[in-house]
Amino acid sequence: MTLTATHLLALAPPILVCITAIVVMLAIAWRRHHTSIAIVTVVGLNLALLSLIGVWRMAPLAAPMLAIDGLAIFAAVLILVAALACATLTHAYLAQYSGPREEFYLLLLCATAGGLVLSASTHLATLFFGLELLSIPLYGMLAYVYGERRSLEAGVKYLVLSATATTFLLFGMAVLYAETGHLDVAGLAARLGDELGAWGLAGAALMMMGLAFKLSVVPFHMWTPDVYQGGPGPAATFLATASKVAVFVVLLRLVITAPAFQDGWLHNVLAVLAILTMLVGNLLALTQSNLKRLLGYSSIAHFGYLLTALVIGDGLSVEASAVYLVTYLLATLGAFGVVTLLSSPYVSGTQGGEDTAALHHYRGLFWRRPYLTAVLTITLLSLAGIPFTAGFIGKFYIIALGVESQRWGLVGAVIVGSAIGLFYYLRVMVTLFLAEAGMQRRDAPENWAIQAGGVVVLGAAVLVVVLGIYPAPMIDWMHHIEVLVGG
């Protein structure tokens, strides 16, 4: 199947993002100007977001190697929103950085295009290229302030481990290709049938392993806290939001379209991984004294909850995981956004050094930065799944799904995990409201509220509350996705 004009129109979002990346590159070559590059980036991402309205009318449509369906559009919205937030946060974070600042936007745009392609891929070739296009710019983003040892360490660590995971993924693809002679997911599913042979099982398991690494599912989670702590704030935000959403959506798509990925043995392994991920992620988060590390472990645990929906893999699971992804994305954007705004080492007065993300830096934050603290509190409450925040709706869906399919082990793990989670989220909140104890070394710029970054985190917090109280529009949207996917 060759590309036609209709396909090109339907592929407008990734194409627009790529064009923006090239415009940004040429603009950098012509003249370096931080703010205008940021504006070009944001305009490009917004155009891509707007083009989704037109694409929505065309869906579902099968372009060569890509599917333009409800799931892809849903993922595209989440990824573009996350990328927009990251671009705005970057502008605040790098404002005083003395090295070249503009390349970050170029890398961000490339990674966004990769995420868009990955989440729409129905072919192993687009899956691989999307994943690499998502990962390779991330190495650069994580190591962006390479003068800092931590940042460089984060970049190199992610590079080496991610390359290892990619070899597993590629080997799995090669085994599946040798077994079936197909690279498109539909063909693979047809040839593999419902029962996997030894080779099919090996291939599927290897591919799962590669994707599980990117989602930092528990046996493959070692890199997460170090990378989140060391990388610059916006890069860690992108890694925790857009990157994980894209990889999860492609995993969801694989499970829906190829029942082979739900084969009995693999199914049990996934269930065990989900339980392990929830428990280990939450338990390890308990002892953390660094907010970025803590959020890293919390994101591990959240993907354990999401895997539950994947394991059950029937009926409501697309809707449940979509709702959960929205709530997770908003809360994580808000929490990481606040940390990024507060922790930038490149505000006036100081140059370089680590991000200030240690918990004691946040003691008594409420008495100095009431609004930012309110945002952080709301997003942490949402991550913990307290009612009247969006996180509660997501957790509710997951637990309802588990109860309906009578997977009591999984439901139990979700509940235990949430209980442990509540403890460390509350611990952070208590710290925020403790009375002042000495001077703060670094702080958010005074005018944070009029800066775009402040608007982003406020918007995320408002959405968390609104969707927590009135989730009907979100749920309606998820119904449409399910209709379009036909799963």
Binding site: T2, C110, E132, I136, P137, G140, G147
Partner: protein, 186 residues
Amino acid sequence: MNIAFYLSGLVAVLATLGVVTNTNPVHALLYLIVSLISVALVFFALGAPFAGALEVIVYAGAIMVLFVFVVMMLNLGHEGAAQERLWLRPRVWLGPAVLSAVLLVTLIATLWSGDDGRMIAGQTLTAKAVGSLLFGPWLLIVELAAMLLLAALVTASHVGRVPGPTPLESGDTQPRQHTQPRKEGA
């Protein structure tokens, strides 16, 4: 042709084992080149001469050139020469040489028996077929690969910048030592 395929496959596996187990990077590279050439022969046997030629030109060729560049830039001098002589013991070069000899014998035998137009299965994939496939249905992948290379290039050029981000403008910390590449020899 079958024998050629399996022999070069075996050589590829053995040479790659040599890459993995060797502790000296230069010796590992030697094995790597043999491995790449044998993979090229596998491609020829499979009826994909274009891929085979690319393998030889891009991988084996480019890596050879890089290898030579590294040796030239290190420019070790007399001590280096002595070290080289010490390294050039038979057990270092014997392995790659034997593997390459196997490849050469396979190649000559294949040519001798007039097998050169055939392959073990399927049709010959010519450069034209590969090109029309790449810029037809796989156009999207080509464009994605282009973006991927752009991202990798930007990452490499940013992280590889010398000197690092020096806090020159604020001036409240010690300026970093610039690490200029030293000029050695003539």
